[in-house]
Symmetry: C2
C-alpha cells in the first residue's frame, strides 16, 4: 500500500508516516515510478503504528519506542522486567496526574471566587 492509504487508516498525516519511518519505527520498500520512487508499505505497519500509539499514551517518546518495538519482537523481557517497566510508567503517569489535579483545584478555587465577584458587583473590572 502507498503512503496515503497508510496515513488514512492509521490516522496519521503523510508527513507523520514519513516521520515514523525516519525514526525507524516502520519500514517500506521502494517502488519505481518512472524517474520517481514511491514508498510501498506492508499492511503490517498498521499494527505497528497501533503499538506506537499505545506506547505514546504510556508516556514513551518515539525515540524510546524504537528499541521497545524491537525488544517486543525479540520477546526478551521477563515478567519481572515487564513489571518494573510498567511500574515506572505508572509513576510517570501518576506524577502528571498529580500536577493536573492540583491545577484543577486551583482553577476551581479561582472560579468560585470570580463567580461570587460577578454576583456581588457585576460592573467592576478586574
Amino acid at each position: 500500500m502507498l503512503i496515503s492509504e497508510v496515513a488514512k487508516i492509521a490516522g496519521l498525516s503523510k508527513d507523520g508516516v514519513r516521520h515514523y519511518e525516519e525514526m525507524g519505527l516502520i519500514a517500506s520498500t521502494e517502488r519505481q515510478a518512472g524517474s520517481r520512487v514511491y514508498r510501498e508499505y506492508d499492511p503490517a505497519v498498521l499494527t505497528t503504528i497501533e503499538k506506537v500509539r499505545q506506547a505514546q499514551r504510556l508516556g514513551f517518546s518515539l525515540k524510546e519506542i524504537g528499541p521497545l518495538l524491537k525488544a517486543h519482537g525479540a520477546a526478551n523481557l521477563t515478567p519481572e522486567q515487564t513489571v518494573v517497566f510498567l511500574e515506572e510508567r505508572l509513576d510517570v503517569i501518576r506524577g502528571k496526574l498529580k500536577v493536573l489535579q492540583e491545577v484543577e483545584a486551583f482553577i476551581k478555587t479561582k472560579l468560585d471566587h470570580y463567580k461570587k465577584e460577578k454576583l456581588s458587583r457585576s460592573d467592576k473590572k478586574i
Copy 2:
C-alpha cells in the same frame, strides 16, 4: 541584577531567561561593560516570571502569556470574561486528566496481569 542571578532565583537557565525576554515576557535595560553590553534586570521580573510559570501550569503557552500579562496589568477583564476564561482552562485540564486516568487504568490492568504471570511461572520469557 544580572542574568545569572535572575536565573538562579527564578529556577530558570540563563538561556531560559533570555528566551523569556525574546518572547516579550520580561524586559531588561542595557548596561555597558567595556565593548560588551550586559542585560540588567529589575527584581520585579522575578514576580513576572512567577506569573508566567503559573499560567504555564494552567495550560497556556508562552506565546499566549505575553498578551495575558499585559491584560492583567491593564486590568481590563470583566468578572464574566474571567469566568469564561477559567472555565475554558478547566476544560483543557480535565481533558488531559481524563486521558491520563484512562492510561493509568490500562497500566494497572496490565500490571496485575504480569504480576500473576510472574507468580505462576517465573521462568518464562514474555
